[in-house]
Symmetry: C2
Subunit: 189 residues, 2 copies
DNA sequence: CCATGACCAAAATACAATATCAGTCATTCG
DNA sequence: CGAATGACTGATATTGTATTTTGGTCATGG
C-alpha cells in the first residue's frame, strides 16, 4: 500500500486531534505503522508534511465550495453560497477548527503561516470568480483583488466576529440581505 | 493641585510607555508624587484606574473624529473622514498603539477588554451617525447596527489587515474609491 | 537498497527558589 | 480628626536549573 498516503492520513488524523505542535513525528510514524525515518524519505521535515496536509485541505475546501455553486446562477448567489460554505469549514472541519484554536492559543508560527495561506487562497479564488463575472458582463469592471478582499473580510466579520460581541449569531438570511443590498448590488453591470 | 488628575496623568504616561501589565502601582505613585495608598482613595484597583484612562482616550478619539467632520458635508464624506481618523489613532496615539501591541503580544485580559470596548464604542458612534442621516432622509432606512458594524470592519480590514499581506498599504483614495462605489453608494436614499 | 529505530543535540518542560506586585492598614502628619 | 502614606503580606510572576521530550540523522539489518 502507498506509504506516502498512509503517512499523510496518519498525520492528518493526529493534527486534527492534537494540533500541529502537539503531534510528534514518532506518533505519526506509530499511527502510520512505519519507522520514523520513513517519513523523511517523503517529507523533508515536519513543516513540509504539515504543508502537504494543508494543501489537501485547501483542495477539499475548493471542492466543497464548488459543490454548492449552481451553474447559471447569479454571481451574488454563487459567491454567497461559496463564501458561506468555506467559512462553515471553520467550525465543521476538524483540522481547520483545531488549527484556528491553536493559532489563538499557542501562536504556533507554522500554523499562523498555513492559515494565512488558506485565507489568501480563498481571496484569490474569489478574485478569479469576480474576473470571470466581469468577463461575462455580469459585473462591471472593478479592482478585483480589492473587491475580493473586501468581500471575504466582510463575510468573515459577519459570520465570525459578530458572534463574539453579540449573543446570537447572524442568520444567513440577514447576512445575505445586508450584502445583497450593499456590496453585491453595486457590483452589477 | 488635583490629586486625582495627577494620578490619571501619571498612569496615562506609564501605560503609554510601558503598557498595562508592565506599569506598577508603585511606579504610578512615584510619577504622580503621591503615596501608593492615595491612588486607592480615588480608584478601587488598577483595572478601574485603567478604565478611567481608557474612557478619557475614547473622549479624545471622539473629539478628533468630530474635528475632521464638516458640517453640511455628505454622509459618505464625513463617515470616511471620521473612520479614517479613528483608525489613524491606532498608529498615532501612543497609548492606543501600546495597547494594541500588548493585546497581540501579552494577551492581557484587561487590555483585550478595553480594546473591545473601544471598538464597540466606535461602532455605536457610527450607528448613531447612520440613524441621523436616515432621519435626515440622506440615507435609506437600514439595519443601522449591522451597517455600522460592516462599515467599521471594512475600514479596519482595508486600513489595517491589507498591509499585513501586501507590501504597500492602501492609499486613502483607493479605499474611498472602493467603498464609495460599493457600500456608500448603496446606502443613499 | 530501502526501511528502521537507537541515537544526538536542541528545545521544551517541570520545578524550586527568588523576586515582584496589587492591595491593605496601622501610623503619621497637617 | 481625617486624609495621606509606605511598610507589610499573600499571591503571582520570574529566574535559573535539572530533566524530559522531540525533530531529525544515519549506521545497521532485512
Amino acid at each position: 500500500m502507498d506509504r506516502r498516503q498512509e503517512i499523510m492520513e496518519a498525520a492528518a488524523k493526529s493534527f486534527s486531534l492534537f494540533g500541529y505542535k502537539a503531534t510528534t513525528m514518532d506518533q505519526v510514524a506509530k499511527i502510520a505503522n512505519v519507522g520514523k525515518g520513513t517519513i523523511y524519505t517523503f517529507f523533508a521535515n515536519k513543516e513540509e508534511l504539515f504543508n502537504a496536509i494543508a494543501l489537501k485541505m485547501i483542495v477539499e475546501m475548493r471542492a466543497a465550495s464548488d459543490a454548492v455553486a449552481v451553474e447559471g446562477a447569479s454571481f451574488e448567489q454563487n459567491a454567497h453560497a461559496r463564501l458561506m460554505q468555506m467559512l462553515k469549514f471553520r467550525g465543521t472541519h476538524q483540522l481547520y477548527a483545531k488549527l484556528i484554536d491553536e493559532e489563538k492559543e499557542l501562536r504556533t508560527p507554522a500554523v499562523i503561516e498555513v492559515l494565512a495561506q488558506i485565507e489568501s487562497e480563498i481571496v484569490s479564488y474569489v478574485k478569479a470568480k469576480i474576473e470571470r463575472a466581469i468577463a461575462k458582463g455580469e459585473l462591471k469592471p472593478c479592482d478585483s483583488e480589492l473587491v475580493a478582499f473586501l468581500l471575504f473580510k466582510s463575510y468573515l466579520a459577519l459570520v465570525v466576529d459578530w458572534g463574539k460581541n453579540h449573543d446570537e449569531e447572524l442568520s444567513e438570511e440577514r447576512i445575505l440581505g445586508l450584502l445583497s443590498g450593499t456590496i453585491f448590488n453595486c457590483l452589477l453591470a
